[in-house]
Symmetry: C2
Subunit: 292 residues, 2 copies
Amino acid sequence: MTYCVGLRLDEGLVFLADSRTNAGVDQVSTFRKMVVFERPGDRVLVLMTAGNLAVSQTVRQIIERDNEAGGKSLWTVPTMYEAVQIIGDAVRAVRARDAAALAEAGIEFNISFIFGGQIKGERMRLFLVYAAGNFIEAQDESPYLQIGEAKYGKPVLDRMVTPRSTLDEGAKCALVSMDSTLRSNISVGLPMDLLCYEVDTLRVTRFATIDTRNEYFRMIHETWGQRLKQVFSEIPDPIWEPTVAPVHQDEDPPAEPVRATPPADLLGENETQPRAGFQTLADQAGRKEQLL
Amino acid sequence: MTYCVGLRLDEGLVFLADSRTNAGVDQVSTFRKMVVFERPGDRVLVLMTAGNLAVSQTVRQIIERDNEAGGKSLWTVPTMYEAVQIIGDAVRAVRARDAAALAEAGIEFNISFIFGGQIKGERMRLFLVYAAGNFIEAQDESPYLQIGEAKYGKPVLDRMVTPRSTLDEGAKCALVSMDSTLRSNISVGLPMDLLCYEVDTLRVTRFATIDTRNEYFRMIHETWGQRLKQVFSEIPDPIWEPTVAPVHQDEDPPAEPVRATPPADLLGENETQPRAGFQTLADQAGRKEQLL
């Protein structure tokens, strides 16, 4: 499995990729999933891959070969839109060649890419390319894109990232998102590649490969976990109070659990019939002082 | 979609279920997914369902019918192990009847249950029943079980829940986990049913149906988000510093991004060749004061 995340912020782009590949859980290896196309002063393009490793390697092969063959090339196209189309076309070429054989072997044609960067004269752009070769672009309302094992790390992105976040905040948030993913899915692994692209620099200015010895990531890993526990402990516990009959039945949510009905012979023993003598969460009035 | 979570703590069991069902995104309705079998003083059993609603309703139907038919019944079996087998057998009965027809219609036989409680004379037990009718049990090392849209809410459970957590902490953590899920997946929805079973009481003592008007959940929703942002802002930003050639190449992680090689004609223009003049994350020495 893989986890990659890309952020498009006003200050620049953040790219973060783990480096674990696995087939099942007993064939695990390290493969770096981020590749950089840099012509300083002209363009920086970053490609991150998730999914079938053979497919992603073949896509990269095709991109390189087309360069050599004098076709459209990531090194020379004038726009990001043409650049991302090259990725999409390469995915379709691999599908045309390999998908049937993979299907015969019962293997899904499973691949996705985050692709972003800036070409001189254009704004920064960030795309997600699907297995069908089509793609979407990050926008102000959705400033981040994820591929691979995306769900564990999504809540923190949803809460923290806006286009106005600084590049450093973006990097920090991507690392917290990765930390949550690493903790919950063993098939996502260190080291990871972090590249922060500063808008309009048109060169790679900030890059780090991060493993367990990286002090900054260790600090995030430890601090975030400890502080979450602290915040959690500071949230008041629920207060339970006896249920009362609701005054306005229609306005209140049902206060009873859905109950299965015991068979008639059990109902015969009168005391075994379900009763409503439970406690429920205290309501506003009872909680006001606790909340303040 | 659905999200249900069950916790097995020393103090008791926590059950939390949302109430949204959907077929696609345009056919959304409310269906309560928690059902309680209570014979005060004898047993409390709680069943929560995720997956195909027709399948889960049929399973519940079968459980009730078998009661009436005088077969093994959740109301009378002497052990939790026999009780969970009744659920598993019902799943298999529905599969035998419906799976082929569902497959013909291109619909997956997709169902899972969290089932737990306590029967007089036994310890509390908590199970997850799969679509194949087999099941696993929560243990001290894995004190919680999830069904449905589980991933968004998993990191907080991984960090906070141990068997030693109090019942109130467990309820709080389940609600935070649900809050993260609600925020990231629109197909999980309020109201939700929360049932906290206190060990050895053998009756329902704490239950609440929680919607947006519930003050405690609103407090969690707001406080958790705000405090997360605060914790996040308190974590220092990364410090970037110029890269230096590593002294011991072998011991250090690769400090260079993986770069694609430009074609020969571009390499001819000497200055366009990728260079290593980027910044990288500051290492331990440079970060010590920031960390303390």
